[in-house]
Symmetry: C3
Subunit: 361 residues, 3 copies
C-alpha cells in the first residue's frame, strides 16, 4: 500500500490546506502519486518527464521499439472517466495507454452511467477503483478530482487519479505538454531559461495559461508577457504569485510590439462557455489579438507559435505551414508526455530510458 | 459445432418448458454453454467456478501471472451489448475480458445503433455473432437473452450468450459473484453450509435476491431470513421453491433481532425504477431497514455485510471502514468470477489452475 | 513520407478532376493509399485483396494462426470516427483491427465530441492524425472523406483515410465485401466472369448497388439485371457508364423471370431515410420484389442470394436456412476483406500470405 501524506488527514484538515501544501500531500517521496495540480511539478520532475517522453517518442518510431514499450504495462488496466465532453484529451490518453500496452475502458457519455443515478460520486469512483489500476478523470465540477483522490487514498484500493481537467481550476497534463513543447523547441538554444513567453487571448479564464505561467516560474530568467483586452487579462492571483517568485512580467494590449520580443507566442481562444451572461464574450473585440500571416514577418526567425486547441479564428490557417507553427507537434506532444507520466507513475521510467539508449543510441 | 439440447427444439417447444428444463437445455454435457439462468448452476459448478476465480485472482497479483492469464484468450473477441444502461456490470465484464487478453467491442448507447432501425432483434444479434466469439447482453426486455440464445443455437454460428441482466427476471452473474463472496467469507469456517443468510430491503423486485436465494439451496443447512416491509417481501414463488427444497426460512420485519443471528447480511436498495405508479415506493418507510453504525455492535464479530450496489441510504458510509463490510470486495469479486466464467466457457480452466499451482503454490 | 499525386494539387485543382482522375490521385504506385472510391480498384487489386482475405480467414481458424495475425500491427493505432450512426460497419472494422492486433480508439457518438464545437472539420481530423496511424471515417456529408484525405495528404502526418460511407455517394468497402462474396461463391465455377448478377429493390438510392455494378465491369462477360419499380430504378449515370464499358444489362420489373437466369440475386431494402418528402417511399408497392420461400424453387441450384443488410421484409426469414442464402457469410466477409485491406495498406500482405501457406498449406 502507498503511504501518502493525505492518508493521515481528515477531509476537513486536508481541505483547509493551501494549494502548495495540498500538492505536497498527493506526492509519494517527491514523486506525484495522484496528478492533480500543476503545482506538484518542480523543475527536476519536469526535466525527468521531458526526457522520458523523448525516450518513448524515439522508441515508438520502430516496430521493435513499440514492442518494447507495449511490454511495459499490459498487466495494468486504465479507466478513462470523462464526464465532461472532450475528445482531444481523451484520445491522447487512450493512445498513451495503447503505447504502453495498457488495456483501456471508458465511461464517456454521462447518460450511459445512469445506473449510477442516486449513487454518490464517492461510490462511483470506488467502483472504478475496484476494477482498474488507475483512473483518468475529467469533470466540470471544481475540486472533484481532488476530493476523489482523498477518498481513494483513504480506501483499501488507493489507485492513482490523474486529473484531466477539473472545472475551471486545473488541467495539469495540458501544462505538462506545453512545457514539453517549449523544452523541445529550445533544446538547441539552452532550454527554457531566459526566454520570453507571450500569452495571448482569454487569459482570465484559460486554465491552460494559468497553469503554464506557474510552471514557468521553475525556470530562470523567463520573462512573461500577457497580451489581452483588459476584460480578459490574467488574474490578480497569478500576478501576485509571479511577483512573489520574482518573475519579470507585463500586461499589455500591444500585440505587434510584444511579438517582436517573443521566443514563444502562446495563442488561446475565447472561453465563452464560461460566460456568466450569454453572449458576454461576443461584445469584446478580439480581432487585433489574432495571429495573421503578416505577423510572420514580425516574429523572430527562431520563435515558435503554440496553441492548446481547439482553435477558432485566433490563428489564420495560412500560418499552419510556417515552420515556426508548432501547434500540431504540440498536440502530438500531449500523447508523449501523458505516456511518460503514466510510465513514470508505474515506475517504468528507468527501463524505458535504458531501452531507448540501447536501441536509439 | 456445439450440440446443445436446445438445437433440437422449435421455439414453441422450448418456450413451453419449465425453468429447470430450459436451464438444462442451455448446457453442454453438464456445463453451461449459454449462461442465462441462475438455475443452471449446481453446487459442483459453483465450487469449480469459485476455485477458478481464486486461481485467477492469485495469478493476477504479479506481472508474470497476468502475462499467463493474458495468453489465454487473445484469439477470441468479445461483444458487450448493453441496451440497458449499466456501468458496474459493463466495466467488470470489460475488465474480466482484459484479464484474459481478450479484445472487446461494445454497443452501449442504444442510439448509436440506429442503423439497426427497422431490423429485427434476431438479425442484430446474428450480426454480432458474425464478428465476435461470444456475446454479453443486457436488456430491459424480459426473456430476450433466452430468445437470442435459441436463435444463435439454431444458426451457423452458435456463439455463447451471457445474460448480464434481462428484464426483471434474471441476472445470473450477479448471483455467482454473491456466492463467490460467501465462499470467500466463510472459507475458514467450513464454507456456506449451515450459515444464516439475511436479506434486507426490496425483496419483491430485486432479481439479485431472488437468484441468490435459489442458489443457496445448493448448500446444506443454510437458513434464510427475509427482512422487509410487507409490500416488499420476497415473492410467493421463491417461498414455494424454498419449501419444496426443504429450506428453513422466515419472513420478518424485525431487523435488529435478525441481525443477531446472521452470518451474512445482504442489504438491497428500493428498486423504484420498477414502480408501476410513480412515487409508489416513496410512500413506504424503509428507514428501519437501514444499516446504521449502531448495528455494528449487534452484528456477530465474524459476520459479513454485503450489498449488490448501487447503494443509497441503506448502509451508512460510516459502516464502510468496519472489517465486516465486504461489499467493496464483493464488487471486485464480480470481476474475478466473470473472468472465471469466460475462461471456463472456452475451456481454459485446467490450464489456469495448473498455472496458479505452479506459480502461487 | 508518402508521395501521392494528390499532394501536388491545390484543393480547387483536385476538385475539378473527374472521378477516375481523383481515384488515381489517391493511389501510391497503383496501390490505393487513401481508400475513398470503388473506382480505385481494378481487377488485379480485387483479386489480390480476395486472396489476402482468404489467407487471413484460414489463419484465423486456429489459436496459433490468430497469434501470427495479431503480431502484424500491434505497433499501429486505428481511429474509428463514425459521425453517422452505424454498427455493422463499425463492428466489422473494429474486429478487423483486433484480428491484426491493432489497438482501436473511437469517436462514435457525435455529441461526445462537443469540445470540437467551433472547430473546423479540418482541425478535428488533423487531431485524429496526431495520435493515430490511420482513420476510418463515416459521415453523412457528401465528399467529406475526400476533402479530409486531401487535407491530410498536404499535412505533416498524411495518415491514410478509409471511407466507411460518405453521404449518398460512396461506400467502397461494402463493394469490396460484395465482390469477395461473389469470388468465394463462384470459386469452383471459374469465378465471376460470365455470370448473371441481378439487383433488386431500391437501386436509385442504394450506394451499395451503384458501387458494385461499377466494380463488376472489371470482369469479363458479366450480365447485369436491374429489377425495380420505375421510381427506384438504377440511375442514368450508371447506365451510361455500363454502356461505355460495353456491359450487357437490362432494366425490368419482372422479378420471377429474372430469377430464373440469375447466378447471384442481390436484394436491397428501401432507403427511405433519403426520402425528400416524408413517407414518399411508402407509396411505392414493393411487395412483388420480395424474396419469398416459393422463389427458392425458381432459383438455380447453384445460385446465391445476397443482401447488404439491414433487411426488413425483402427476404422472408424462412429463406435463411437455404444453402443458397449466403448473406450471413457475406456479412462475415466484411470483416475478412476489411482486415485484408488494412493489412495491405501497411504492407503486411506478403507476410500473411506466406504464413498462410506455411500453416494451412
Amino acid at each position: 500500500m502507498v503511504d501518502l501524506p493525505v492518508t493521515k488527514l481528515s477531509w476537513t484538515a486536508f481541505d483547509n490546506l493551501n494549494l502548495m501544501e495540498k500538492a505536497a500531500c498527493m506526492c509519494d517521496g517527491g514523486r506525484e502519486y495522484h496528478v492533480l495540480y500543476a503545482q506538484q511539478f518542480g523543475r527536476e520532475r519536469l526535466d525527468h518527464l521531458g526526457r522520458l517522453a523523448t525516450a518513448i517518442r524515439r522508441l515508438a518510431k520502430t516496430k521493435e521499439g513499440m514492442h518494447e514499450l507495449q511490454k511495459m504495462l499490459p498487466h495494468k488496466r486504465a479507466m478513462l472517466y470523462f464526464a465532461q465532453p472532450s475528445s482531444r484529451t481523451f484520445l491522447s490518453f487512450a493512445a498513451a495507454c495503447q503505447i504502453l500496452g495498457m488495456p483501456v475502458a471508458e465511461v464517456r457519455d454521462t447518460s450511459v452511467s445512469s445506473e449510477f443515478k442516486g449513487e454518490s460520486k464517492e461510490d462511483t469512483v470506488r467502483t472504478f477503483s475496484s476494477y482498474f489500476d488507475f483512473i483518468v478523470m475529467r469533470t466540470q465540477i471544481d475540486g472533484l478530482a481532488e476530493r476523489m483522490a482523498w477518498v481513494l487514498s483513504n480506501s483499501e484500493r488507493p489507485v492513482p487519479i490523474i486529473n484531466a481537467g477539473s472545472g475551471k481550476d486545473q488541467h495539469p497534463t495540458q501544462a505538462l505538454l506545453d512545457v514539453y513543447t517549449l523544452q523541445r523547441s529550445f533544446e538547441e538554444r539552452d532550454g527554457i531559461d531566459g526566454k520570453v513567453i507571450m500569452f495571448v487571448g482569454d487569459l482570465a479564464r484559460g486554465r491552460t495559461v494559468r497553469s503554464l505561467a506557474w510552471l514557468l516560474t521553475n525556470y530562470d530568467g523567463v520573462r512573461q508577457i500577457f497580451v489581452a483586452p483588459p476584460e480578459l487579462q490574467i488574474g490578480e492571483d497569478i500576478q501576485a504569485l509571479l511577483r512573489e517568485r520574482g518573475v519579470e512580467f507585463r500586461l499589455t494590449e500591444d500585440f505587434d510590439a510584444s511579438l517582436r520580443e517573443a521566443d514563444a507566442v502562446y495563442m488561446t481562444r475565447i472561453q465563452d462557455e464560461w460566460d456568466s451572461v450569454a453572449g458576454e464574450s461576443r461584445r469584446i473585440n478580439t480581432d487585433r489579438f489574432h495571429f495573421q500571416p503578416r505577423h510572420l514577418d514580425i516574429l523572430k526567425t527562431n520563435a515558435v507559435i503554440m496553441h492548446p486547441f481547439p482553435r477558432r479564428q485566433e490563428i489564420d490557417i495560412a500560418v499552419d505551414t510556417d515552420p515556426r507553427a508548432v501547434y500540431w507537434r504540440q498536440m502530438r506532444n500531449g500523447m508523449w508526455i501523458r505516456a511518460a507520466l503514466i510510465a513514470d507513475l508505474f515506475r517504468c521510467d528507468a527501463m524505458i530510458q535504458s531501452d531507448s539508449v540501447r536501441r536509439c543510441g
